[in-house]
C-alpha cells in the first residue's frame, strides 16, 4: 500500500484541476456562443487560464508523488 | 525524499549541461541560418504584398478617377453637342424664317412691281391701241370721206345735210 496516500493526494489535485478547467471551458463556450466573432481571443485566454490551473494541479501531483 | 536527491548532481548534471549546450547551439544556429532569413523573407514579402495592394488600390482609384473624368468629358461633350445641335437648329429655323419672310417681302415687292409694270404696260398698250384705233378710224374716215367726197354732189349733199342738222338743232 505504499504510495497510496500520495496517489490520493494526486487524485485530489486532479479533481480540483478538473473542476477548474471544466469551469473555464464551459464559460469559454458560453462566451463563444454569445460572441462568436470574439472566439479566437476567448480561446487564447481560455488556453492560458487552463494552463495556469493545470500548472497548479501538476504542482499538486508532483509534490504528492515526490513526497511518497 | 532524501533518497530522491541523492547523487542528483552526479547523475544528472551532465544531462543538464548537454541539454543546455544543445539547446543554445540550436538556438544560435537556427537564429543565424534559419529564423533571420525566413523572417526577413516573410516580412519582405508581406511588405511587397502590402505595397502591391496599395498600388493596386491607387491604380483602382486612378482608374476610377479617369473613368469619372472620361464620363465627365463625355457628358460635357454630349451637352455641348446637344447645345450645338440646338443652336444649329435654331439657326436653321431662323434662317429659314428669315428667308421665308425675305422671300415673301421680295415676292410681294416683285408682284407689286409686276403689277405696276403690267399696269403701265397696259396703259401704254391701251394708249397705243387707242392711238392706232384713232389713226385707223381717221384713216377709215378719210378713206370713207375721200370716197364720199369723190363727187361734188355728194359733198354738197353732206354739207346740206349737216347744215340741216345744225339748223334743226
Amino acid at each position: 500500500m505504499t504510495g497510496s496516500i500520495a496517489a490520493l493526494g494526486a487524485g485530489l489535485a486532479v479533481i480540483g484541476a478538473g473542476i477548474g478547467i471544466g469551469q473555464v471551458g464551459g464559460k469559454a463556450m458560453e462566451g463563444i456562443a454569445r460572441q462568436p466573432e470574439a472566439s479566437s481571443k476567448i480561446q487564447t485566454a481560455m488556453i492560458i487560464a487552463a494552463a495556469l490551473i493545470e500548472g497548479v494541479a501538476l504542482f499538486g501531483v508532483v509534490v504528492a508523488l515526490l513526497g511518497k | 525524499m532524501e533518497q530522491l536527491f541523492e547523487g542528483l548532481l552526479n547523475d544528472h548534471l551532465g544531462f543538464v549541461v548537454w541539454a543546455a549546450v544543445a539547446f543554445i547551439i540550436l538556438l544560435i544556429l537556427l537564429a543565424k541560418f534559419a529564423w533571420k532569413p525566413i523572417m526577413a523573407a516573410i516580412s519582405e514579402r508581406e511588405r511587397s504584398i502590402e505595397d502591391a495592394l496599395l498600388k493596386a488600390e491607387a491604380a483602382k482609384e486612378e482608374m476610377a478617377r479617369l473613368t469619372n473624368e472620361n464620363e465627365q468629358l463625355l457628358k460635357e461633350a454630349r451637352a455641348e453637342r446637344d447645345l450645338i445641335l440646338r443652336e444649329a437648329r435654331q439657326l436653321k429655323d431662323q434662317i429659314i424664317n428669315e428667308a421665308k419672310s425675305a422671300a415673301n417681302v421680295e415676292g410681294a415687292r416683285m408682284i407689286e412691281n409686276a403689277r405696276l409694270e403690267i399696269n403701265s404696260l397696259k396703259a401704254v398698250a391701251m394708249s397705243d391701241v387707242k392711238n392706232q384705233v384713232a389713226t385707223l378710224s381717221v384713216e377709215i374716215a378719210e378713206k370713207i370721206l375721200r370716197k364720199q367726197f369723190a363727187d361734188q354732189q355728194a359733198q354738197d349733199q353732206l354739207v346740206a345735210d349737216l347744215l340741216k342738222e345744225v339748223k334743226i338743232k
Binding site: 472566439s39 488556453i47 | 547523487g7 552526479n10 548537454w18 538556438l27 523573407a41
Partner: protein, 359 residues
Amino acid sequence: MDFRHILNSKKIILRVILGVLFTLTVCNTFAIQHENEPVEAKNAEQEAFNPTTAILEHIADSHYWHVGGELSFPLPIILFTDKGTEFFSGANFHHGHEAYQGKYYTYKLIEDKIRVVNAAGEVDKEASSHVYDFSITKNVLAMWLAGTILFIIFFTVAASYKKRKGKAPKGLQSFIEPVIMFVRDEIARPNIGYRYERYMPVLLTIFFFIWINNLLGLIPVFPGGANVTGNILLTFVMAFIVLLVVNFSANKYYWKHIFMPPVPVWLYPIMIPVELIGVISRPFALMIRLYANISAGHIIVLSLISLIFIFKTLWIAPVSIIFVLFMDVLELLVAFLQAFIFTMLTALFIGTAVEEHHH
C-alpha cells in the same frame, strides 16, 4: 484558436491525415513489439511483470538505446571524476550485469545509474559522489537528433526562401510558413507587443524544439522512442533559459513592480518575497507542465499496452490497440498544444517583463 489556416489546402489535409494514420500504424505495431522485449526479459528474470517499473524504465533516460527486439545501441560513457576524465563504451556494462574497470575506479550500472563499486562489488558512496556522469545518453542523443532534424528542415526552408524570393511558398515551405506565422501572429505579437521581433528566434526555437521532440517521443522505434520533453531535466533547462530571457529583458517597471509594489510600505516584507517567488514559480510551472503532460501521455499509452501483459492474454490486445490509437491521436494534439502553451506563456512572461507601464 483558429488553426484552419494551417490546413487550408486539401492536399495538405490529405497528407496530414495519411501521415497521422501511417504514424499511428507504425506506432502501435512497434509499440507492442518494443514493449514485448524488455517485458520478456523481465519475466525471465523475475517471473512477475511489474507494470510500474516497466513503464518508469521506458520513460526514463538510459545509457542504451533499444531499437527493437534484442538489438540495442550501447552509448558512449563520459565520466568526470576527481582524478580525471573517463571515456568508454556503454557496452562494457553488459546491461548492468557486469562491472567495468576504468582508469580510476571500477564502475557498475545500477538502475541505469553509474556507481563506483569496490572490490567486493558494493557501492562506494563516497567515491561515487566524486563521479559526474556526462555520458551521451539516449535523451542527449535524441535531443541532438531532433536538433539536427530541425536544423535540416529550417535550413532547407530558409534556402527555398532565398531561391524563391518574394514568391508564394511551396512544398515544405508552405507547411512551415503558416506555423511560423502562427507563432508570430498568435503568440509573439499579441503578448509581447511591438518589440516582438527581438524574441522571435527564441520563441520559434522553443516552439519547434518542443514540438519535434514531442512528436519524436510518440514514435516508439529508433529515431524517436526517447522521452525527451517528458524529462524533467530538459524541461528544467528550457524553463531556466526562459527565466534568464525574461529577467534579462525586463525593464525598470518590471523590477519596480517587484521591489516597490504599489502597496503600503509595511506590506513590503510580505509582498517582495511573494513577487520573488512569482519570478521563480512561473518558469517552474512551465517546467512541471511540459514534463508532466508528456510523461503522463507516455505513461497512459504504456499502461494500456501493459494491460496485455497484466492479463497475460492476447484477447485484450485489440482493446489496448484501440485505446492506444485514441491516445496517440490525443497525444498528437497534446504535442502541438504543449509546445504552443510553453511558447505562449514564455511570450506572456516576456510581455509582462518588457511592458511599458501605465500606472
